[in-house]
């Protein structure tokens, strides 16, 4: 008599595993998906992570506690928090976010050892790293300029900026001078070059470099440092009896012949004039 040996039903086990596995996945994906609770900042979605980083930056502006800011950023598990904050600062600058936000991010990024572009505009604690070498001996012809401030020349040739301090992403936009006014009033600040730069939606554009040249000298200032006037506003204090050339670096033609010779107000007071230059995008060309 021989006992018949029963074989293990492997096929049934396999079928069960496959069917059960499919059902399990379906349950986990659709019926009862993962729902995170009590997360740390590192598990936030990208938008909320940016909001969190901005908030850490603004809190740092108040308490100036770098270690605390660092510990608040640590849960984000970024490889380099300085780079993280720097990139967000530059992104905010590019997007034309509120100047206060860009300033907060740039300040924290710098404090962490980062080198955001936005810091050149807003923090005032670091020198621009992409400035050209000082230009010398390029102003020989300036005293003979005859154009008036009200009529800026279309083809200035006296000064050719040889380098640009403006990042490439800004050079793509072409702007033109849409208004140039001389102000000579008793109750208005005197001797300034005031630059307003607006985008196509008439919003001020912060972070743009404006180069000022006068005999043997050169200076650069940026828009956006006085957001209470306009996000796209920047100014420069002139010396008396100089001829200035103003260049919105990489974005518009230089404006020559800004003359700081004293003018007379309505009440007869002699003071330096203030010039207001307004830039806006060039209108589309006619077909």
């Amino acid at each position: 008599m021989t006992e018949r040996k029963q074989r293990f039903p492997w096929a049934l086990l396999l079928i069960g595993l496959i069917l059960g596995g499919g059902g399990g996945v379906w349950y986990a994906w659709f019926l009862n998906p993962v729902n995170l609770v009590d997360v740390d900042p590192g598990q936030l979605n990208a938008t909320d992570q940016r909001a969190y980083v901005l908030l850490v930056s603004e809190a740092y502006l108040q308490d100036q506690d770098l270690e605390r800011a660092r510990s608040r950023l640590q849960p984000l598990r970024a490889r380099d928090v300085a780079t993280l904050v720097s990139e967000q600062a530059d992104l905010a600058l590019l997007n034309g976010d509120a100047a206060s936000e860009v300033r907060a991010l740039a300040t924290l990024a710098e404090a962490l050892g980062g080198n955001p572009l936005a810091a050149e505009v807003f923090s005032g604690t670091s020198q621009p790293t992409s400035m050209p070498e000082p230009i010398t001996a390029t102003f020989a012809g300036i005293p003979t300029v005859t154009s008036t401030p009200e009529q800026p020349t279309e083809t200035p040739t006296l000064l050719i900026p040889t380098a640009t301090a403006t990042p490439d992403f800004l050079v793509e936009t072409q702007l033109e001078l849409v208004a140039l006014e001389q102000v000579c009033e008793d109750d208005y600040p005197s001797g300034r070059i005031e630059v307003y730069v607006d985008d196509a939606l008439e919003r001020g554009m912060p972070g743009l470099a404006v180069q000022v040249d006068w005999v043997g000298n050169q200076d650069t200032f940026f828009t956006g440092l006085k957001p209470e006037k306009s996000a796209g506003y920047g100014d420069f204090q002139m010396e008396s009896n100089q001829i200035y050339t103003v260049t919105l670096v990489g974005l518009a033609e230089p404006v020559v012949g800004i003359d700081s010779a004293p003018c007379f107000t309505d009440s007869g007071v002699s003071q330096l004039p203030t010039y207001q230059l307004v830039y806006a995008p060039s209108p589309p060309e006619e077909p």
Binding site: L13, G16, Q62
Partner: protein, 126 residues
């Protein structure tokens, strides 16, 4: 027959377990969370930072937007409770001041908050 049925059941059970574990660890949906899902400790620190930012910029609309992200049913009550908790626990006075400033703007100040109120005249104290 019984043995075969039992084997099939075991296979289904093991498969379902393995499938569910796989599905939870490899979700097909975005499982990143919003600020409302933060751990209560992080939520509290977030609120402190909102208060710090408010102390800098005074932008109340921004405060409301930021506190709204917490999705607390009553943001004012949440801030008041948190401020009192910080006071009771003897936390950082600057943090307490930031929270009390928010609570005061909501119109709620309680006796424990009095020492931390900013010296702004005309603040309503219930």
């Amino acid at each position: 027959m019984g043995r075969a049925f039992l084997t099939l059941l075991i296979g289904l059970g093991l498969g379902a377990l393995a499938g569910a574990i796989f599905g939870w660890f490899r979700p097909i949906q975005d499982v990143s969370a919003g600020i409302n899902e933060l751990h209560p400790g992080y939520k509290a620190d977030y609120t402190v930072m909102v208060g710090a930012a408010y102390a800098i910029d005074g932008d109340w609309d921004q405060v409301q937007t930021r506190l709204g992200r917490l999705e607390e049913p009553d943001p004012a009550a949440y801030v008041v409770v948190l401020a009192e908790q910080y006071i009771a626990e003897g936390r950082n006075p600057d943090d307490i001041r930031n929270l009390v400033r928010l609570a005061a703007h909501f119109g709620y100040t309680t006796p424990p908050m009095q020492p931390y109120l900013p010296p702004s005249p005309g603040q309503a104290v219930p």
